[in-house]
């Protein structure tokens, strides 16, 4: 009884193991073949975080490299945030991605706040070179700082122009912020202290992408977004001026692996051409074209490059 039982089980399991092994080998072979194919054409991998501006900038990097070199460009967009992009860059999974000087300073390097843009850039350049062997290239031209945003109707009705103007209304308001803003040293705690704000209850903590929806739908009355977000204009919202200059500079810069630049100097030339080329208005317009008009980022970037003669 017992022996017949085991023999039946063996009869079933042996072919099963065989076909499983076959599958594994086939899979490994496919991986190896794929790997070889990739190495034959030199490939640059452009990464980006998971919001529109990052995708637009990464697309711009990709098109510049494609236009000024024979390299193949792979786009690995929509990576989930600063941390994942940074890890991917340092470990060589991506070759470059757009970053902001203030984010690099406080979120990645964990260094104290500084307010002078030139000093921040210089410090970040030195540290990235020494610690990660990554080159921080020249700024693209605009500053994407945290923006305190209210509904346009509220701004009109209550004559709100600066963040300081909010203080008398804050006790009746609910605020909505992203996780990043709540945790960063240049974020929530310092901000409410600097402006002496007291909101009704703890702030609602939401995913970045849901904040504007919650604001438009009056679930919250003030959110922290980014100054270049395209939806600000399309949803008739107003950015309050940072009148106490609380937020440090967040200049957009390309971060590129130095190993990649040494191997492909043409990448440096292609990306270098973008220095100082994008104003905050132009960035907001491109973001709006994608967010508000639902256009393809690649087309928007192509138009921008044409207009700029790149």
């Amino acid at each position: 009884m017992n022996s017949s039982h085991t023999s039946v089980r063996r009869g079933v399991s042996l072919p099963a193991t065989g076909s499983l092994l076959l599958c594994v080998f086939a899979f490994l072979f496919m991986l190896a073949a794929g790997g070889c194919g990739k190495r034959a054409v030199e490939t640059i991998v452009v990464g980006s975080k998971n919001f529109t501006e990052q995708i637009v900038l990464a697309e711009l990097f990709a098109q510049e490299i494609e236009a000024h070199s024979a390299l193949r460009v792979e786009r690995r967009l929509n990576l989930g945030g600063t941390f994942i992009c940074h890890d991917a860059l340092v470990s060589g999974k991506i070759d470059l991605y757009p970053e902001y000087t203030g984010t690099a300073l406080t979120a990645v390097l964990n260094d104290p706040l500084q307010k002078d843009p030139a000093e921040v850039l210089h410090h970040v350049q030195e540290e990235y070179r020494a610690r990660f062997n990554v080159e921080v290239m020249r700024p693209l031209g605009f500053n994407n700082t945290f923006a305190m945003i209210v509904r346009g109707e509220d701004a009109d009705r209550l004559h709100l122009r600066r963040i300081s103007d909010v203080a008398p209304y804050a006790p009746k308001w609910r605020a909505g912020f992203g996780y990043e803003f709540m945790e960063r040293p240049d974020g929530y705690r310092g901000w409410i202290t600097a402006y002496g704000l007291h909101f009704a209850g703890e702030p609602r903590i939401l995913d970045l992408g849901l904040l504007y929806r919650a604001l438009a739908d009056k679930q919250v009355d003030l959110v922290a977004g980014n100054s270049t977000d395209g939806v600000i204009a399309s949803l008739h919202m107003v950015v309050l001026e940072d009148d106490l200059h609380y937020f440090p500079p967040y200049e957009a810069v390309p971060l590129v692996r130095r190993a990649t630049l040494e191997k492909h100097p043409e990448v440096r030339d292609a990306i270098g051409m973008l220095a100082g080329k994008i104003s905050v208005d132009e960035m907001r317009q491109m973001n709006y074209a994608v967010d508000g008009e639902h256009r393809d980022p690649a087309d928007v970037v192509r138009e921008f490059r044409k207009a700029k003669g790149l």
């Binding site: 909505g176 960063r184 849901l210 919650a214």
Partner: protein, 210 residues
Amino acid sequence: MNWYEFMLRNRSEVFERTLEHIGLVGASMAISLVIGLPLGIALVRRAKLQRWVIGAANVVQTIPSLALFGFLIPVPWIGGVGASTAIVALSLYAILPILRNTCTGIAEVDPAVIESARGMGMTPRQVLWQVQLPLAAPVLLAGIRVSTAMCIGITTIAAAIGAGGLGVFIFRGLAMVNNQVILAGAIPAACLAIAADSGLGYFQRSSARR
């Protein structure tokens, strides 16, 4: 600092978030059971309607959770910002395995057994409650088991709509570039899923033995 040191130091918040997580999973599972089981039973003999309903549940499954949250924010009563939106979305996700296993479990009961139950003079209601459901129980429980484990995992996304739970650590850790914080959310969530799965697995096996 190791992740367990971080967890020890923040144990009161880890505990609180774990409770929130269990609460969200419990509420979502309760809703999906209350809807999924009766709906599944009702659909057993309506093959065409069943295809449509399961198709719809499949489609819901493919909607990314952030998109679903986005749709739900403006909806009065069930929507908005906070736990209610999260629970609605999670229930919608959890319903499919329950619904499908209820339908297939009952459909796969041997027709000869049902025939002989009818022959013994049982009413259709008695056949359902005394024959079909007990025999389908292991498959039903398998569906609930899959659904619960999945629900514990995806409940981490509730933190994106301000509903709390262990996902708070994951989102916070991602924003802070800090693996320890991510693990403080991911590891208790994994433990919860394993505990729930083995607990329900025990029930499933004991129901199969009978």
